[in-house]
């Protein structure tokens, strides 16, 4: 999404000048997707980041714009190393570079590790991301419990199928909820997406190859919206989500259909592909 996120490589100057207050990304309160339309304001804000602090704050106190997702850490802060094996290595075994790196880190400033990142063997970044996307109002406890109940529901359904199946089919039935989850999301990722590009006063939907992150995001977003909206009022999220995940695992179901619709629209708008300049 070139218009709404400026890669840092294009503005090396700005990174240093942002030492004191980090990189504010102003977003409209209360909305996420349409907030990206505040891009021009954001761009302007970044362009002015060389200005005095007071002026910048005035810009960002525009009505409806609050700063979210900014990092208070300057560029000198390094990411923490969350890995038990790294710290368990006895000093004798370290190579020259590793020794040097260890000594260096003793003097460097290190960011605090986020609460969700643990050195647990059961941690999975995809599951964490999905849980965060399911979370509403900061209620991580609820989101996590829904996630665990979903995984349990998927497992129990697969076990039932396993016990009901014959010996040959048993080899094909996958019972690990984590592989099912990963495979389902992978199956839901679109390959190509549509981007609105302004030409001659009109917005045209132009087919564009999507990056990895955008694809993963879209897959998870579609899954969650589908499960929130298209279910019976009394049906619980884990039940619906487990059902959708199993269908997506077998390349069926509404989320896969949405992915195919996206592909078809991109195919239909193939003529507009030359509007893309990157």
């Amino acid at each position: 999404m070139h218009r709404f996120r400026i890669p840092w490589s294009l503005f090396p100057v700005f990174r240093h000048s942002l030492r004191h207050a980090g990189t504010p990304r102003a977003v409209l309160v209360g909305s996420s997707w349409p907030a990206k339309m505040a891009a021009p304001a954001v761009k302007a804000a970044r362009a002015w980041s060389g200005l005095a602090l007071g002026l910048r704050n005035a810009v960002l106190r525009l009505p409806g714009l609050t700063q979210v997702r900014w990092s208070r850490y300057g560029p000198e802060y390094k990411d923490p190393h969350i890995d038990k094996e790294y710290y368990r290595k006895p000093l004798a075994e370290l190579t020259e570079e590793e020794n040097y790196e260890r000594e260096l880190r003793k003097t460097q400033l290190i960011k605090a590790a986020p609460a969700t990142k643990t050195c647990s063997v059961f941690e999975d970044p995809v599951i964490s991301k999905f849980t965060n996307m399911m979370m509403k109002g900061g209620n991580k406890v609820l989101a996590r419990s829904l996630m665990t109940q979903t995984l349990e529901a998927v497992k129990r359904k697969q076990f039932e199928k396993y016990h009901a199946a014959s010996a040959e089919e048993q080899a094909t039935i996958e019972r690990n909820p984590y592989t099912i989850f990963h495979q389902a999301l992978k199956n839901c990722e679109p390959v190509i997406g549509l981007v609105p590009i302004l030409r001659g006063g009109h917005f045209y939907q132009v087919p564009v190859p999507l990056g990895d992150r955008r694809r993963r995001f879209l897959a998870m977003k579609w899954m969650i919206t589908e499960c929130r909206e298209k279910k019976h009022r009394r049906m619980l999220m884990p039940e619906k989500l487990s059902h959708e995940l199993l269908e997506a695992f077998h390349n069926q179901g509404p989320v896969i259909k949405r992915k195919h619709d996206m592909h078809k629209m991109a195919e239909a708008n193939r003529a507009l592909a030359h509007y893309r300049w990157w």
Binding site: V121, F122, Q149, E152, K155, R156, R175, N176, P177, Y178
Partner: protein
């Protein structure tokens, strides 16, 4: 033949852990001989083929024994914890771990003197330690020994969220609970079919102008009356309890009174009358009759009770001791009783539980098979059986 889980790193398992790996040779041999697991390698043993609770002893501690599914339906129409029921459905088998508190209770029950008044045993412990499943183990034992099981699965269900309270016809001061009573009667009938025709009622009971039960008719008729005429269900329950108490001393049958969540009988209820005034437990006919049952003024059986904070009303979350949960009134009524503490798994039981899950391929996460994964499970669950079950459910 179920597919065994991948390579569960047996060598690391056996190195530091407390399972049968040669330390007590003769018992070990005996345990091995009656085991389903072949003895080629010193595997961790989590199952035993001894499915009669009467023969469970010290050597079976920490091992799972199998209850056939037909027995399960016959002995436990109600009373199993809901998560255990889900586990039975998923695994297609019901396996219960043999643990110390249950073994202790079995020992006492085997040596009961039926001429003495019924002894009260109270299972207490923190949340999730296995009190209800220990109670189920005892009930299975008594069912195999052909005792009459009077099992109230959860007394808390009778003191909260009850609709349709009727004023009792027998005693104007008390209140009836037709729904709960009729459900309980149905389950009681399923569990004790064979006794209902043998035991005869010793009094005439008049239900209303047209219906009455004559003296000498089988108890089954009273139960039927309670199930069909829901209005009289509570009175039917009261009659059943009274008759069983009276006749248990005669020696035809041994009576086991098993109540889960007995702290509901004393304390408060969440029920209110139409004028919003609170109802005390003794004003409910079911509770009143059950309290009489739990007194030790009869002989010919035993009373096994379980305390439970989980379903309780107006009790703090951390309370688990008898004094805290029963309150002064309850404690004084139950005094004297034999308290039996049910605690978290010891390392051997923990390993056995993990092994059982691995054998059933329940732990699907690849890291769960490793030593690190096991250590993490131990830490996260704090060896609490309930927590461990919930953790392993999604791993």
């Amino acid at each position: 033949m179920r597919e065994r889980s991948g390579t569960p790193n047996l060598h690391e398992l056996d190195a530091g852990h407390f399972l049968h790996t040669g330390s007590q040779a003769p018992q070990n041999l005996a345990a091995h001989l009656d085991n389903q697991v072949p003895v080629e390698s010193p595997r961790a043993v989590s199952r035993t083929s001894e499915s009669d609770p009467a023969k469970h002893g010290e050597q079976h501690e920490g091992q799972h024994y199998n209850i056939p599914l037909q027995d399960l339906k016959a002995v436990f129409p109600h009373g199993l914890p809901p998560r255990f029921v889900m586990q039975v459905k998923t695994f297609n088998e019901a396996c219960l771990m043999v643990r110390k508190p249950a073994l202790e209770l079995l020992h006492y029950l085997k040596n009961t003197n039926f001429a003495h008044p019924a002894v009260r045993y109270v299972l207490y412990g923190e949340k999730g330690t296995g009190k209800t499943l220990s109670l189920c183990h005892i009930i299975h034992f008594c069912a195999k020994q052909d005792w009459l099981i009077l099992h109230i699965p959860d007394a808390h269900l009778w003191v909260k969220n009850c609709r349709n309270l009727l004023q009792s016809t027998y005693n104007k001061q008390r209140l009836d609970q037709p729904l709960e009573a009729s459900i309980w009667l149905k389950n009681f009938k399923t569990a004790n079919e064979r006794f209902l025709s043998q035991i005869k009622v010793q009094e005439k009971y008049v239900w209303n102008k047209r219906e009455s039960t004559e003296k000498g008719s089988p108890l089954g008729e009273v139960v039927e009356q309670g199930i069909t005429r829901v209005r009289n269900a509570t009175d039917a329950v009261g009659i059943v309890l009274k008759e069983l108490k009276r006749q248990s001393s005669s020696g035809i049958f041994h009576l086991l009174v098993a109540v889960d969540g007995v702290n509901a009988l004393w304390g408060r209820t969440t029920l209110k009358r139409e004028d919003k005034s609170p109802i005390a437990p003794e004003e409910l006919a079911l509770i009143y009759n059950l309290r009489k049952m739990v007194k030790n003024d009869w002989h010919g059986g035993a009373i096994v009770l379980t305390l439970s904070q989980t379903g309780s009303v107006f009790k703090p979350r951390k309370a688990f001791l008898p004094q805290e949960l029963l309150g002064k009134e309850g404690f004084d009524t139950l005094d004297p009783f034999i308290p039996i503490l049910v605690s978290n798994y010891n390392p051997k039981e923990f390993e056995s539980c993990i092994q059982y899950y691995l054998e059933n391929n329940w732990l699907q996460h690849e890291k769960a098979h490793t030593e690190d994964g096991k250590k993490e499970l131990l830490f996260l669950s704090n060896t609490n059986p309930g927590q461990l079950e919930r953790l392993c459910a999604y791993l």
